[in-house]
């Protein structure tokens, strides 16, 4: 990683965001790769996604006062830039189009999740009904 570059460098395995903690910023991945881990009660953390350069994450903290929904860790060295909630929201008041990139990205994520859910529900045996086991997911 170039020492002159913007953002902060995280070592392999270092945590950027921890599930359950409060957040006051979002992030953009400038260089490297990150993994997204979700921990469900009584289960080990499960990797649900890998993010590549250019990804924006942690944006839920910008729009709602909920805790972080997942843990994000560096996969190898990664360089991440932080975007402050306060400054960002202030700029959105002046320039609502600033939110458009985020809305577009969130829309793509919903589409991706919808496809994922669809693939799980429609297996080789055709549509399946939710049993108790599936509802727990």
């Amino acid at each position: 990683m170039a020492s002159n570059a913007l953002g902060r460098v995280y070592a392999d395995g270092e945590t950027i965001v921890t599930q359950g903690e409060a957040g006051d910023c979002m992030f953009t991945l400038q260089e490297g790769r990150l993994e997204v881990l979700v921990t469900l009660p009584g289960r080990p953390p499960k990797r649900v996604a890998v993010m590549e350069k250019g990804a924006i994450f942690g944006e839920m903290a910008i729009f709602e006062r909920e805790v972080r929904s997942a843990t994000v860790r560096a996969l190898g060295e990664a360089r991440v830039l932080t975007i402050d909630k306060k400054n960002f929201l202030r700029r959105i008041q002046e320039d609502p189009t600033l939110a458009f990139t985020l809305v577009k990205m969130m829309s793509q994520r919903i589409r991706h999740l919808t496809l994922g859910v669809g693939e799980r529900r429609v297996g080789p045996q055709g549509p399946r009904t939710d049993g108790p086991e599936r509802r727990r997911l």
Binding site: A2, N4, A5, L6, G7, R8, C25, M26, T28, Q30, E31, G54, I56, L81, T82, I83, D84, N87, F88, R91, E94, D95, T97, L98, F100, T101, L102
Partner: protein, 472 residues
């Protein structure tokens, strides 16, 4: 220049690809947009215009007139600027999906060091992260190694071209109005008519003279002379001496306003602001002990490159008209700080207006001008902020109090850092001047400052040790 007869009257004969819609001029499929100047303002405008048009399914053709390739070292490829992308702009661009690669960023800045005659103090970035970019606008100073520097302006211009804009490597020699539409003619005689003309030339370009025609009711912005120079020290020395900090100076030197030294690879850039800035002021600044001790061995090296560019210090009069708009330094800019951020704001406001509203005088007045006006109003507040800074600059008692208060805040992890945040935002241009002034009006701020002024005046109550090497 031909008088824009049809531009003046309401009976303009509109032909071709733009039409009136509800009393305003609107861009349509196939409309042509000309941008004079391929610096940050011109590129930002193009990037946002094409992105917004694309979201509406609107097909626009954009020509950017920029004779420079930004690949020449020294003045031929330079835009004569300190080359700082502010903390807030770095974040906003990242949120827009525009990231600055390491090849463009000469040095990420994570702190400021305030140098005064009563001590130095380091102000760390609120998140302890490099979020300010020191960049070259061109291809580096005249004496830089013959390697290609990825200049900031070229990076943005390439981004504009990748989105479909055509970069015309010619100068705009004249602008005339034909049937109410601007026609740009180049030195080779080629001429193009546009549905919208965007002027993003900056204030140091002869192109500003193309619009001296009183019929536009446009009057160029007031400007002030600055001084920018480069010192070549070598990358290792720069790293060891200046580190990842921007060095700012609060010195009691007559006529000196603001001074900063910015590390950039093997060079450091010095930016000076002041009244009637001349060689005497530059020499007085460079001769001061506080500046000399920043350099290895206390010796100021010879200048590798220097210039006296002008900056916008007062908004242009009516920087818009039917089918024409002035953005960036050509129109309105933030006082003394964040010129590239001003280019971003005004460019985006103009692009939004052109795509979503129209390109008539009234459209720009209603949708573009408020963004400019907000900058202009904030600049009035800025004059108060800089007035206070000026007082501190000329009072050793106040300087000692400010340095002491800041040093104590920086030493206390988790403190709210009232003075630190005020200085940080004043130096970085990261927050509106209005917010900075508001923070100084909270009751605890003057109380704490008064206490530190008193304590700083007592024996052994001073600030940090002088002559400290902050590059470690």
């Amino acid at each position: 220049m031909t008088a824009p007869s049809s531009f003046l009257g309401p009976l303009a004969r509109l032909r071709g690809r733009a039409a009136r819609r509800d009393g305003s001029l609107a861009l349509q499929d196939g409309s042509r947009v000309g941008v004079i100047g391929g610096g940050p303002a011109g590129s930002f405008f193009t990037i946002f215009l094409l992105a917004m048009a694309d979201s509406l399914g609107l097909d626009l053709r954009v020509d950017i007139f920029e004779p420079r390739f930004f690949t020449h070292r020294g003045p031929a490829g330079c835009n004569h600027c300190g080359g700082i992308v502010s903390e807030s702009l770095v974040q906003m661009l990242a949120a827009e999906g525009i990231n600055l690669p390491p090849s463009v960023v000469q040095q990420g800045i994570d702190s400021y060091i305030l140098h005064t005659d009563v001590g130095d103090v380091r102000i760390q970035s609120p998140r302890d992260e490099k979020r300010i970019a020191a960049v070259y606008r061109g291809n580096g100073p005249r004496e830089s190694e013959p390697v290609e520097v990825a200049g900031f302006d070229r990076h943005l211009l390439d981004l504009s071209a990748s989105q479909g804009a055509r970069v015309v490597r010619k100068m705009a020699q004249s602008v005339e109005w034909i049937d109410g539409r601007p026609r740009v003619t180049c030195p080779d005689g080629s001429a193009t008519d546009f549905d919208l003309l965007v002027v993003a030339t900056g204030v140091n370009s002869q192109a500003m003279n193309l619009f001296s025609d009183a019929a536009h009711r446009f009057a160029a912005p007031a400007t002030q002379r600055t001084f920018i120079c480069e010192f070549r020290l070598g990358a290792d020395v720069v790293r060891a001496t200046f580190g990842t900090s921007m060095h700012v100076f609060l010195l009691d030197i007559p006529r000196l306003g603001f001074a900063a030294i910015v590390p950039k690879g093997e060079f450091v850039t010095l930016c000076l602001l002041g009244d009637d800035l001349d060689e005497t002021l530059v020499e007085n600044f460079l001769r001061s002990a506080e500046v000399q001790r920043c350099f290895p061995g206390g010796t100021i090296p010879p200048l590798a490159c220097h210039c006296y560019p002008r900056i916008n210090v007062e908004a242009a009069t009516r920087p818009f008209g039917d089918r024409i708009v002035w953005i960036g330094d050509s129109g309105v800019a933030r006082l003394y700080k964040d010129g590239i951020g001003s280019a971003y704001r005004t460019a985006k406001a103009a692009a939004k207006t052109a795509v979503f509203s129209g390109v008539s005088t009234e459209d720009f007045r209603r949708h573009f001008w408020p963004a400019c006006r907000a900058l202009d109003v904030d600049n009035m507040i800025a004059r108060v902020v800089f007035g206070v800074t000026h007082l501190i600059q000329h009072s050793s008692v106040l300087r000692r109090g400010v340095v002491r208060m800041t040093a104590r805040e920086q030493a206390q992890a988790g403190s709210d850092g009232q003075m630190s945040s005020v200085l940080w935002d004043t130096f970085t241009g990261s927050a509106p001047y209005r917010d900075i002034l508001k923070r100084t009006m909270r009751p605890q701020f003057p109380v704490m400052l008064a206490w530190n002024v008193i304590a700083g005046s007592l024996p052994f109550g001073g600030a940090s040790r002088r002559g400290r090497n902050h590059g470690e």
